[in-house]
Symmetry: C2
Subunit: 501 residues, 2 copies
């Protein structure tokens, strides 16, 4: 173990040790789980056995029906809510006498497409493995190895929270603990297809989906395996820039000193967009961004510094954005070159002046930014570098009549993603509850990945907090997706604590 | 017709009109040709019917045998000269009583590979076409349409000079004109495979291949269709630069502000190499380059200014290197990005931080430059931008221990290409002879493309002048290669004048 990893471990152990683990609901959930491991895993495996690729509408419906039955078995009023041409949201509701608030639990039951040939076992035949090797389920009454993992599409992303919530509810009901809040379950069926109907379904059923807080139970926990609570997610966008040279590729020796080279023009343009510390140099780019609150700054300061470990893992000798941690950097807008191409390289290349050069960039939009305005700033910057900017393939006449021509196309959401204030009383309460379960939760103002928080907040006006349970190494979106068994056990305890809030 | 093209045409017509066309050998060659068009084309077509892809050794040998017979039929002492594992050079010699100099005529009989499916007719079934449409050969005694073209692999590159030389010799021998110089023919069989054995064959047979001047009969004439004489050609090289980011692609939203982006690092590096006028900014890059002589400067000043026409043709609204003409720009070293790639673009792209970024560059080396020294200057420049430079795929340990890592690989010739001085008495004489044929020849110190002049000059110490006859639009190296019939007629007259020097 390298010094950096050892240091990190010490920090983690110290943090976990200093937090109390005294949540009654999570404690009874643990006892319940220990007595019912086999049936919990059986129910999870049954759900994972139903293929759930978003586009596979027939099987998506089978999943929805199965989840309705999971709720009805538990006496929860369940139904499927949809709009034309959408996969159903499975909705369940528990009304609690005297409750003054409603807690919403979101997860999604659909999954990414699969390429079965890549998988070690069929993606919809749940398989238990330890260190990659298939192992049998333990004999009745014996515990599961908490470091074993259940492999199947959807195991980590995102059927685990559905099972964890149901089991947590079973545990609470078998105990003397009584729910204090109303509870609603919202299990989406097309998150992996871009949640394209979520806004429509929510807007058409505002009463049904309204509540005081949405727990967005998706994404993984912290790489250190500590619980993670995230209060925001960026909006995503994409900008592609194509720069034009001669209309046909020209002889690189003959025209190399004469023809404008689009690869060089593009390089110069991209180099002008950021300084070597990672700061975006496009004028006014950061204008209007809602600054971090004191609570958010404090959370970032308290979050683990992962730099040394990540640089080691990723084979890096440097990183940009210092001295800010990733936790802070994800609260700033990203303008990242995700791909670049001009003519051929390697075996396909020849000595020519390329005709075009293209860079594809992904953008994140943070609170206070607007997609359209940001794209306009980028275009303005490109114009300031001497380019005539078009939004479709330029004609030869256009190419002939301008010194430099760039085509800029953009796609993305309309607004920067939301950040639920960490100093709201409800936020503070959620953090206290989560820390009372296992201690040492990592609290972050924002994550770097896209989840549709903005859709929910915009449609309903409700705050959202991201509450993951999957292991960070769950291979989501890839082959051999899995859930570490201990993460399911921890998830059951976490959900019990939240249900009992 | 646009104003620029019209202006160009006027310049051309004026220039041609002001030159005398009074070369006796070329005049008798014209008469001979007019009387023998059919048999000339028949012999050319027979030669073109023999497949000549460099790698096809069996057919290459058939070509060599056929050319030996073409010479023997004319009473020329012919033989095949080779070294182990090389295709033969067909060598022919005419000794002239009392001659005090020897003229060497080089051409090559091999051709580029073919993809027959791309061709309008099989590449080794010579086809006569006018404006793309197949036409019959004219009836016996009727002239060929001078604007028709013969289509076949090798028609333009480079069997035409072989036929032109033989026909020119026929014409001279049928006249009262007597040769004044010794003449040697050198027809190579693997130029399109990089002339990889040329130096070995020449060095092993110095006496055979020695002469006072080599006419390198290859490449096309000027795009204006004027004759072209070129006194030099650059050496070629290639440098590939790979820049490293994280060892695996990372999530573009999460790590976009943290991970060093190799596409951006590469862009910044490439942008640092040239200013926006096209000047190379690498320290000492131009050191040691032999400056242009007064004669070379004058030739460039007198050469046509093609800018407006080329910008129109290539769909460009600007060009670099102004106010220098292309004729001057090719005498300067080229450092041209020929291809660039990082991760995926278009449908294959996703929002990630790429792991690597690669640029492939082609270089030309002009008189006074050395390949190894130039590559070292480039590496030094890359180091000065903060990179640790390696020459093979870096290990993870290397990537972890350096802020920025670049792999630089290079290949190419050892020296800058030669320029035969335009003010040599022999150079001056050649220019006078060529102008006496048709007038208005374009004389250039250098071309931008690579031909193995340096190999010849280094092996034999003999000066080389490039003397093309093919039309510029002959599709060489591509499908539907062709020779415009008038270019063959002009070539016969040109070769007659040179043979009679």
């Amino acid at each position: 173990m390298r010094a950096s990893a050892l240091g990190l471990l010490i920090v983690i152990l110290f943090n976990i040790a200093t937090f109390a683990q005294n949540n009654p609901a999570s404690q009874i959930a643990r006892q319940w789980r220990q007595q019912h491991e086999r049936s919990i895993i059986d129910e999870f495996a049954a759900l994972l056995s139903i293929p759930n690729v978003s586009q596979d509408r027939e099987n998506i419906q089978r999943n929805a029906d199965f989840i309705v039955r999971m709720m009805e078995t538990r006496g929860i009023a369940a139904r499927q809510v949809t709009v034309p041409n959408a996969s159903p949201i499975v909705f369940g509701e528990i009304r609690t006498a005297g409750a003054v608030r409603t807690l919403m639990f979101y997860a999604h039951y659909d999954g990414q497409p699969v390429t079965p040939a890549q998988w070690s076992a069929p993606p919809f035949s749940p398989t238990l493995r330890r260190d990659g090797t298939t192992i049998p389920h333990p004999p009745a009454g014996q515990p599961f190895d908490p470091e074993s993992r259940l492999y199947a599409r959807g195991a980590g992303d995102d059927k685990a929270p559905i099972v964890a919530l149901m089991v947590a509810l079973d545990a609470i009901r078998a105990s003397s603990i009584r729910l204090k809040s109303n509870v609603k379950f919202v299990f989406e069926g097309e998150e992996e297809a871009g949640s394209r109907n979520l806004a429509r379904i929510l807007s058409a059923n505002k009463d049904l989906f309204s509540g005081d807080i949405w727990f967005f139970c998706d994404t993984p926990v912290h790489p250190s395996r500590r619980q993670q609570i995230v209060f925001g997610s960026p909006g995503f966008g994409r900008v592609d820039v194509t720069v034009y040279g001669p209309r046909v590729e020209l002889h690189g020796g003959h025209y190399g000193n004469w023809a404008p080279n689009p690869a060089l023009m593009l390089s110069r343009l991209l180099a002008s967009m950021k300084d070597d510390k990672g700061k975006i140099l496009i004028a006014n780019y950061y204008d209007g961004i809602v600054p971090l609150s004191q609570a958010e700054k404090r959370a970032i300061a308290e979050s683990p510094d992962m730099d040394a470990q990540l640089m080691e893992d990723f084979g890096l000798g440097s990183r940009v954005g210092a001295p800010m941690k990733i936790a802070e950097l994800v609260t700033l807008p990203v303008l990242n070159i995700r791909g670049m191409a001009s003519a051929g390289v390697g075996a396909e290349s020849s000595s020519i002046v390329p005709s075009t050069a293209l860079a594809s960039m992904n953008l994140t939009f943070v609170k206070g930014m607007e997609f359209g305005k940001t794209v306009e700033l980028i275009k303005e910057h490109i114009r300031a570098q001497g380019f005539f900017v078009v939004d479709a393939e330029p004609t030869l006449a256009v190419r002939r009549s301008h010194e430099k021509v760039a085509m800029v196309t953009a796609s993305g959401g309309a607004y920067g993603g939301p950040r639920t204030p960490m100093d709201l009383p409800l936020s503070q309460e959620v953090m206290r509850v989560v820390d009372s379960v296992r201690g040492g939760a990592v609290k972050l103002p924002m994550m770097g990945g896209a989840v549709p928080l903005e859709v929910i907040e915009r449609a309903l006006g409700t705050r959202v907090i991201v509450m993951p349970i999957a292991n960070h190494d769950n291979n989501q979106h890839s082959f051999d997706e899995n859930l570490r068994i201990q993460n399911l056990w921890d998830g059951i305890e976490l959900m019990a604590a939240l249900l009992a809030m």
